[in-house]
């Protein structure tokens, strides 16, 4: 039985190789589709991995405790979306207020975010607040600095309203510019010591949300809601999945072309190789075995294509995983609030590799089997004579 199967494989291999250019064209198309599938999927996997890591490091940590009336997606809730903070050493309170910056005579509406200077839960370089001797030290992200032509050491007038709605204005100093891929903590905002923001606004010990480190097992008062790391990352992950889906059309078209080529070869085999099929049967092959042989021939295209595709894609994607792929639309994506790095580092996982191989071989086998089913209905004598 195993010997028969091995013989079938040997015969199938010889048959497709002897078909020459036709075979190599089919294999090339299939290998190219395989390469694209691996490349795009590993690119999105790499982006997801990197984005999740960055957001945990810079923004979400292990979760957030958010004031019920504050919705980060609704700027209308900033004004009244704060409450007396929760005291716990493993959480960092964040208070958000609105204000205007006036760099070089321009007006810039911004969010003023206060966070404890001594926090180490997220990567924001808040230690700079204590290290600076300035009266109003603030830190900003690189994108905010680039977009608004701001640099370290700049003194800019900030206008805000206190808890009573009275205008106040002071000169702030940029004491640090941090580099992050997370635009939601960078664009259109400045960070300062929460103690200073409390003093400026009169909102003593108030917070819009808290960043949590580790497991927070304490019971929460009804004013607060806990959002886990997974809850907070949900939007980003579903956006990557959606992007993955929308880019699939390219390799679906390529796969479709390659599978049509296989289908065409198989239809061609059934009609043009009738004498050969008849000879196999005359030599003692059952019709089932001939069907199997021709199906294996079709599947062989996929096997060869995945071998060649893997030989090219594994080293290529591994190299790109180190060097990174530069994106031209990075700034545009960041403007839209999407967490994306300057470079994307594709990540080829064994799950992705083997599942892609499995699906390509399975689809090719099905497509190969469909035309050769007719062999079972063939008359042996007619087949030997080469009659249609």
């Amino acid at each position: 039985m195993i010997q028969d199967l091995l013989l079938n494989f040997k015969l199938a291999y010889k048959n497709i190789i002897s078909a020459g250019l036709r075979t190599w064209l089919t294999i090339t198309t299939l290998a190219f589709a395989f390469l694209l599938i691996l490349f795009f999927n590993s690119l999105y996997t790499g982006w997801e991995y990197q984005g999740v890591k960055d957001q945990i490091d810079w923004e979400f940590a292990d979760g957030q405790i958010i004031y019920k009336e504050f919705d980060k997606n609704d700027p209308f809730t900033i004004e009244s979306g704060h409450h007396q903070m929760i005291k716990n050493e493993n959480i960092a309170p964040v208070l958000i207020r609105q204000g205007n910056l006036y760099p070089q005579g321009r007006m810039l509406p911004i969010a003023i975010k206060g966070i404890p200077a001594n926090q180490s839960i997220v990567k924001l370089p808040t230690h700079l607040f204590h290290e600076s001797k300035e009266e109003f030290p603030v830190i900003i992200g690189e994108a905010m600095a680039t977009n608004n032509h701001l640099k370290k050491g700049d003194k800019i007038l900030l206008r805000w309203k206190d808890k009573n709605g009275t205008f106040d204005a002071k000169q702030i100093t940029i004491v640090g510019i941090f580099h992050t891929n997370v635009p939601t903590i960078d664009m259109g905002q400045i960070w300062m010591d929460i103690d200073l923001l409390w003093k400026m606004t009169g909102l003593e010990k108030e917070a819009s949300y808290h960043i949590v480190k580790g497991n927070y097992n304490h019971e929460l008062k009804s004013q607060w809601r806990f959002e886990s790391q997974q809850d907070l990352l949900k939007d980003f992950i579903s956006m990557v999945e959606m992007k993955k889906g929308s880019s699939a059309f390219l390799y679906i078209i390529l796969m479709f072309i390659a599978l049509i080529a296989i289908f065409d070869s198989q239809v061609f085999s059934v009609f043009k190789r009738q004498k050969e099929i008849g000879t196999y049967i005359a030599l003692g092959f059952t019709k089932k075995r001939v069907t199997l042989l021709l199906t294996i021939e079709g599947a062989m295209y996929a096997i060869l294509a995945t071998i060649i595709g893997s030989l090219i894609s594994i080293p290529l994607i591994s190299w790109l995983g180190v060097e990174g792929v530069t994106l031209s639309s990075k700034e545009q994506s960041q403007q839209m609030g999407i967490t994306i790095g300057e470079k994307l580092y594709p990540m080829l996982t064994s799950k992705l590799l083997f599942s892609s191989i499995f699906w390509i071989i399975l689809l090719s086998t099905i497509v190969s089997y469909l035309p050769v089913r007719k062999i079972a209905k063939m008359n042996t004598v007619d087949a030997l004579k080469g009659k249609k």
Binding site: P75, F76, T77, I78, E79, Q98, N100, Y102, Q104, G105, R106, M107, P109, L157, R159, K161, D162, N164, G165, T166, F167, D168, A169, K170
Partner: protein
């Protein structure tokens, strides 16, 4: 002492007397008079807002209806692109209707800080709803000529903490009791805005500046001019004007 020196002394004493009389003016009464001139029971006016941009100047003509200090309704008459835009302010709420999108939106939160049509005036500035005498304690600090008129210099300090500008410096025309200039300060003492008034005209029994320049001093540029084209005080305004349903009409 010769004749000339005597005359000098008399003039000096007289000018001191004039100043003393001036300073004896009750600042609260002065503020009340300003409020009387600036605020009427109802007001219907056609105004032109001139926004000086970096490249071009924009002019918006609108017709406004005001009832007391709390309610107002305005409709843009020109340019064609803005025509039909309506704004309704009822107490502390503000709505804007845009004919291009046929939608009414409520302006609140951070949107109140946005400028009105790119001008130096924010929606928040339009929300000022109390009379000066209710919000500030005035003090006359001197006299000075401002925008061509002899003025008292008035320093206004907020009576309570919930006032947008804690301190205002105001130059008040002695003859008509109308502000000729206002400097609006932040709590820290930082000057934020200046409003310059000119072209004082009599409307009924009150005086009103027909030209105002609003300037956000923290921003570059020439500021924004408001020119009153027509004004009527204390006229009957039907209630339906100050109704939300009037926005979509």
């Amino acid at each position: 002492m010769n004749q000339r020196a005597k005359m000098k002394n008399i003039l000096y004493i007289l000018s001191l007397l004039v100043c003393t009389i001036g300073y004896a003016q009750d600042p609260n009464a002065l503020l009340k008079k300003i409020d009387q001139n600036m605020y009427t029971k109802t007001k219907v006016s056609t105004t032109k807002m001139i926004v000086y941009g970096k490249r071009k100047t924009k002019e918006i003509v609108s017709k406004g209806y005001t009832r007391g200090t709390k309610d107002s309704f305005s409709e843009y008459l020109s340019p064609a692109r803005e025509k039909g835009t309506k704004m309704l302010k009822l107490d502390d709420k503000l709505w804007i209707y845009s004919p291009s999108s046929d939608r009414t939106i409520q302006i609140s939160g951070h949107m109140l800080r946005q400028s009105v049509n790119g001008s130096d005036m924010s929606y928040e500035d339009m929300m000022q709803e109390k009379k000066l005498v209710d919000m500030y304690t005035p003090k006359i600090t001197g006299q000075e000529e401002m925008n061509g008129e002899q003025c008292y210099i008035l320093e206004l300090n907020a009576k309570t903490e919930n006032v947008t500008y804690q301190k205002i410096k105001m130059w008040v025309d002695i003859n008509h009791t109308v502000p000729m200039r206002q400097d609006l300060f932040a709590k820290s003492g930082q000057l934020l805005k200046t409003i310059n008034m000119s072209d004082i005209r009599k409307v009924g029994d009150r005086y009103y500046p027909f030209k105002m320049n609003y300037k956000d001093v923290l921003k570059d540029g020439k500021g924004t001019d408001f020119v009153v084209l027509e004004m009527e005080n204390n006229v009957e305004i039907p209630d339906h004007i100050f109704n939300k349903s009037n926005l979509k009409k």
